[in-house]
Symmetry: none
Subunit: 266 residues, 2 copies
DNA sequence: TTTTGATAAG
DNA sequence: CTTATCAAAA
């Protein structure tokens, strides 16, 4: 028996909007810890890890660990039927091959239940080692989304370079080049507008903008985003989910091309 | 000679937006009673009936009964040229094969007139008998529109079931099932937010969501919608038009399939 | 071109 | 939170 009651149902709606384009099918894992998901994107390049801690739910009952395979597009369709102020309850009976989403309007005048078939998905749950990062950038999530969108109109990849002075996002394409530099800035009115750079070592890594722009679908979940970089390691793009957990995206850097070998794949 | 002056011109704009997708050509009938229309949709499944009473017009001159065949898409195109605050006057000379729409801006600084060719349409004017309904549900029109839209993302048909406790909208599709229950609720701040159920007898009927979602195009005309149900009878979905009349949609129920004959057409 | 979703303003 | 305007997708 599983019954998870989430008062701020819009959180779950946003989570699905954030990952449904990246991952089509995935197992949601329920345990005493919380409601979590770990999955590779369909082309096995990026990894998404979600955690909604049990403490964030108004009611969290999970008699035993349960892994529920869901088609995320279908799940997103159903969650779209919930109002933004609805309370969402996720229910599943032991051994059942369905999951039920119940939506309660704030006034309790409208109660909806949506039942969805579960799927069998074999997933390798990767242990993600805690790593030391050369640099960690924390910045407004909307700013990061804007930069990734803007750069994607020029080129396909972004070079993220961190020095003590700031973080630079660069791209290069047929029509020209672009460089966006954000300097460290902690002296703003609101803390979520700050750009904070923790750097142990300068680092410069290249990533596919296509994936970065998928990650920024999570922007509505948090005002800030944290980008953790180390050479040779996948970047971690993390959006904290207030009071509940996080959604983290991992993406391996591209091996830097030589300057005169631009676009060898074309 | 026909001359109808409607101060709240936006009403006529909304009426045409509401029916132009359902009905392509129709006769508008003018009499001393008012300006009315009755037409089947193009696939002869649904019926729409409109009445704008003469008392609702600032000026209503209709020397003799007149039936004017119009292409509703063309009429809607012209009405889109009227501002939302414009006063609309409909004019036609006896024996003329055209109708003129005149738009006056509130300040009288802009006066437009659009002349449209009339068409010959043979229409059978059906007498619609007043019926006793097993159940009549009155609810916020936006809520009804939201429900029909949400359910259409899951299935093709909706089962509307009324009991004393409330009204249930259910559907079933490839990805799962959905049930939305609205309980009777008269204790709200604003009367237009109430859900009122008048029930003589429980009733449960099935309808094509495609048509329901056409009907909800009339949502901007009224804050509330009335759904009248009887077994064996077409449902009536009515939007009252303030001070003027109504727009009513009629749709025959589908014959309920047996449980084990789901999707016999596949 | 038309319909639907997103976003910004009230 | 609702509505109006605009942009993207079918």
């Amino acid at each position: 028996m599983l019954e998870l009651r989430l008062v701020q149902g819009s959180l779950l709606k946003k989570v699905l909007e954030a990952i449904k384009d990246l991952v089509t099918d995935a197992n949601f894992d329920c345990s005493a810890t919380g409601f979590s998901l770990q999955a590779m994107d369909s082309s096995h390049v990026a990894l998404v890890a979600l955690l909604l801690r049990s403490e964030g739910f108004e009611h969290y009952r999970c008699d035993r660990n349960l892994s529920m395979g869901m088609n995320l597009n279908n799940m997103a369709k159903m969650l779209k039927c919930a109002g933004n102020d609805d309370i969402i309850t996720i229910k599943a009976d032991d051994g059942s091959d369905t999951v039920t989403f119940m939506f309660e309007s704030p006034t309790q005048d409208k109660i909806s239940d949506f039942e969805m078939k579960l799927m069998d998905i074999d997933s390798e749950h990767l242990g993600i080692p805690e790593a030391e990062y050369h640099a960690i950038v924390r910045m407004p999530s909307a700013e990061f989304a804007r930069i990734c969108k803007d750069l994607a109109s020029i080129g396909d990849t972004v070079v993220i370079s961190v020095t003590k002075e700031g973080v630079k996002f660069s791209t290069r394409g047929d029509i020209g080049t672009a460089n966006i530099v954000l300097r460290q800035n902690t002296t703003v009115d609101k803390p979520e507008e700050a750009t904070i750079i923790e750097m142990n070592e300068p680092v410069s890594l290249t990533f596919a903008l296509r994936y970065m722009n998928s990650f920024t679908k999570a922007t509505p979940l948090s005002n800030t985003v944290t980008i953790s970089l180390s050479s040779e390691l996948p970047v971690v793009v993390e959006y904290k989910i207030a009071e509940m957990g996080y959604i983290r995206f991992y993406l391996a850097p591209k091996i830097e091309e030589d300057e005169d070998e631009t676009k060898p794949q074309v």
